[in-house]
Amino acid sequence: MTALETKPQAKPRGTVGSHIGEPQSRPWIYVVLGIGLVLVITPFVWMALGSVKSEGELRANPPTWWPQNPTLDNFRELFTRLDFPQFFTNSVVVAVVVTLGNLVFCSMLGYAFAKLDFWGKAWLFRLVLATLMIPGMVTLVPLFVQISNLGMVNTYFGLILPFLAGPFGVFLMRQFIQGIPDELIDAGRVDGAGEFRIFARVVMPLCKPALATLGILTFLGSWNNFLWPLVVSSTEDMYTLPVALALYSVGQNSTQYGLLLAGSMVVVIPILILFFALQKHVVQGLATTGLKS
């Protein structure tokens, strides 16, 4: 904050142009933002470099920055001695199914909210709205009891079903579908198409940007989800990546630094790749729906 206020004062007052919208006149902003950026990404760089260091090098004091003898042993151990292929598969299966479920179910209800007039719409909407505020902790215990009554503890069903359709997606899709002109939908009706047909053939193709946003955000949320998978999975073969990593990091592997850093890489890298590829949708989705939710 201090940096923001100091420099402009040094300039002659009243010269509007120098204050607004002229990047070349304020290199200090780049410097400040650059330092901030270095601080923000240092942990990632350190994780990446550390994951290819040997155990001995990670314990060295003072610490080394650049790996002396880069090695992939940590990753090799993750994927052979530990069951990371299984955790990875679990994470992918859960995230993909949850994402597909949200894409389909949320846009269906979103369409109904945005374009159809039906009995009970107002209270259903309020109900969905209310659940946006309920923290996961509140439903944790009874949800576990529910899942255990259904015999789904430690199964993919238990991991997936509670997240298959979330209120967030409904709002996102409703918001977007409201922007689609009624004429297009009416044209479909005049042609004699039923609501499902209109939804599938007219509305969904127009929703691609919103679906991309919802898809990536849901995938991120599912991939990083920790509390529920931790509670509902009881044997290693059902662990997702964050659960496995967290339990290793506090369990018997807690001092195997290289292994844990390599594990973090396996959790983080796929999501960062996805984020870099689709970052426009992520940031946009958050900025818009975040403000409206």
Binding site: I29, P135, V138, A287, G290
Partner: protein
């Protein structure tokens, strides 16, 4: 496409589901057919919602007034009604009080800190940076999309006392850093630092969106009158984006109230419960099989979230005509932020 998404330009109160004007007369056969079609579309969501959200919420309320334990899952008839006993037990429990104090500490220090840093970055990104703006935004956003568990593992190593990166850097300037996570004084600030680092990106994006609503002409006029950048930030920018700031504060607050992964991975709530959060205690209590007590505890947490949410709704409701009474209310609230 982005224009369609952002056309609401900023904060918009939710509600008004009935915007799609009823173009069909009431109770006509066509209307009925469409009503059925609509419910058909709502059905998958509604079923999942009833089974995995609505019912658990209702039953957690029942659980919180019973002595249900994990062993009662096989024998539901052994459960007794205990009234508000769980709540009185929880509120009188020193461990819970410790956890509540820690959570409050985390929220009260962490939220304003995140907001100040994020606002500084957003303002910097918004004033005159065109070339690398997207690049910076992606960089600051990176921690948001990554798993808290993974970054907590990494931060645990950064914070190690002997050869952690942070103490190493401190030693360059002659400071001997403490055993961050092993100290009752420093463990919580360390977790807060990580939470700020992780949550920055979200708020930067939200603030950047909010800053678009600040009229450029006002800035230009004020600059002509000799107002400094700091004065313009205080008198123009912040008052204009106050609703955005309050909103950002509320969502960050709700998130921070439930912090769990950080102590789970980094400190296991220690040392001496100094980083035990309410959410972590709920998880532990649940783990010990005291379902009734855990449910009661989670409702106390819920109450805190509701209070924050009520504030949010008040703010949204009063956004459009912030005159007189309401304006003063705004100023008071804004002052706290």
């Amino acid at each position: 496409m982005s224009t369609t998404l952002t056309s609401g330009s900023g904060v918009q109160a939710p509600g008004a589901a009935d915007q799609a004007a009823p173009r069909v007369r009431r109770s006509s056969p066509l209307r009925r057919r469409r009503s059925i079609a609509a419910w058909g579309m709502a059905a998958p969501f509604v079923v999942l919602f009833l089974v995995f959200t609505a019912w658990p919420v209702v039953s957690s309320l029942f659980m919180s007034v019973t002595d249900i334990k994990s062993k009662d899952l096989q024998n539901p008839f052994a459960v007794n009604f205990v009234g508000l006993e769980n709540f009185t037990t929880v509120l009188a429990d020193p461990t819970f009080r410790k956890a509540a104090t820690n959570t409050l500490y985390f929220v009260v220090v962490g939220v304003p800190l995140t907001m100040v840093v994020a606002l500084a970055i957003a303002v910097a990104l918004n004033t005159g940076i065109t070339k690398l703006s997207g690049f910076f935004r992606i960089g600051y956003y990176m921690p948001v999309v990554t798993s808290i568990v993974a970054v907590a593992v990494v931060w645990r190593f950064l914070l190690r006392p002997e050869n952690g990166l942070i103490n190493e850097v401190l030693s360059w300037v002659g400071i001997t850093g403490p055993d961050w996570l092993g100290s009752t004084t420093w463990a919580m600030p360390s977790l807060i630092a990580m939470a700020v680092w992780r949550s920055l990106g979200t708020l930067v994006v939200i603030f950047l969106a909010g800053l678009q609503s600040v009229p450029k002409a006002l800035h230009e006029a004020a600059a002509l009158d000799g107002a400094t950048a700091w004065q313009r930030l205080r008198r123009i920018t912040i008052p204009t984006i106050r609703p955005t700031m309050l909103f950002a504060g509320v969502i960050t607050g709700i998130g921070f109230l439930q912090f769990f992964e950080e102590p789970f991975v980094m400190t296991q709530g220690g040392p001496l419960n100094s980083t035990l959060s309410v959410a972590y205690l709920v998880y532990n209590t649940f783990g010990f099989g005291n379902y009734g007590v855990a449910a009661a505890m989670s409702y106390v947490l819920f109450a805190a979230v509701v209070v924050l949410t009520i504030i949010q709704f008040k703010v949204f409701g009063e956004r459009d005509d912030a005159t007189g009474q309401k304006k003063r209310w705004f100023r008071r609230q804004g002052g706290a932020v």
